[in-house]
């Protein structure tokens, strides 16, 4: 029970997210209308991804500091779950953008294709994709762990220009860019009112905990596999 409390917490928080996310009152906004509720799902995927990538980055640093196969397994599996959440965030964003940017705002395909937020997020996810290609190309385990730990630090550093800085500097349809007249997406006081926060913050914690749970299962399986292979 002592080890399980955060899993139960994630169930409670996500049940609350689904109930509150669909049933609570939300601000009435043009273009977005009822789709503002996607904030509790689409945006939380990216928050979860970012937190898991930070954890993965820390384990890569730990590996370089003290090389042990355990740190490498932790780093790679947190990165894998982070990528999974990132892909889900991207796909949900595609659906959302289709109805708010294309249908309601009549944006052209050219405007969508040069959307800096989409390009930046795609670059960031592809860099992490290369991390797994790199890992798969080594036969020597120590070399694999060391090179991929260094690469993971690079991939984490590339997240900042590609998804945080550049989309905020150039015009974009996505909230958080100069063209959309709002600052920090989802956390700006002009963008999001207290009714949204009431569900939004628990949702971030809930989705992140589910990501950690899935990662922990993957890590435990791989540790077992290592143990059996070594015996």
């Amino acid at each position: 029970m002592r080890k399980y409390w955060w899993k139960i917490l994630s169930i409670i928080l996500l049940t609350y997210t689904f109930l509150g996310g669909f049933l609570f009152d939300v601000p009435r906004l043009f273009i977005l209308n009822e789709t503002i509720r996607n904030l509790y799902f689409h945006v939380c995927m990216w928050f979860g991804m970012m937190i898991l990538f930070i954890v993965s980055f820390i384990y890569s640093l730990k590996y370089l500091n003290k090389p042990s196969i355990k740190n490498d397994i932790y780093a790679s599996n947190f990165a894998a779950t982070g990528c999974f959440l990132g892909v889900l965030g991207y796909l949900t964003g595609v659906i959302w953008a289709n109805y708010t940017w294309v249908t309601d705002q009549q944006q052209s395909l050219a405007a969508i294709l040069k959307e800096p937020k989409l390009i930046g997020a795609a670059i960031a996810l592809l860099i992490y994709g290369a991390y797994f290609v790199l890992r798969g190309s080594f036969s020597d385990n120590d070399k694999k762990a060391r090179v991929s730990a260094v690469y993971n630090i690079f991939a984490f550093a590339m997240l900042f220009p590609s998804i945080w800085i550049i989309p905020r500097m150039v015009g974009s349809l996505h909230p958080g860019a100069p063209g959309s007249e709002s600052g920090n997406p989802a956390l700006n006081y002009n963008d999001i009112d207290s009714r949204l926060r009431l569900v939004f913050y628990p949702a971030i914690i809930g989705w992140t905990l589910v990501g950690v749970w899935i990662s922990s299962l993957r890590i435990r399986l791989q540790l077992l596999r290592e143990k059996i292979l070594n015996n």
Partner: protein, 69 residues
């Protein structure tokens, strides 16, 4: 009489214009309670996923226990 009719219709036009100023929301879905159907379906999928995770968790715990013996 004609004048008051004009004013009335102008007033109505204003009211209609104002109603269209407000963003459209899924108020009908909320008032007839169909939204609870959506919530029930989504919650069922969520719980199904959690049960799946719990079963996987227990299986891996058993494997760990057997491996340590």
């Amino acid at each position: 009489m004609k004048k008051s009719g004009f004013f009335l219709s102008a007033m109505f036009l204003c009211i209609i214009a104002k109603a269209q100023d407000k963003p459209e929301m899924a108020d009908v879905m909320r008032s007839n309670g169909k939204i609870y159907v959506v919530v029930a379906v989504c919650l069922l999928i969520l719980f199904g996923l959690f049960i799946y995770l719990f079963i996987l968790d227990r299986k891996i715990s058993n494997l760990e226990k057997n491996n340590n013996q």
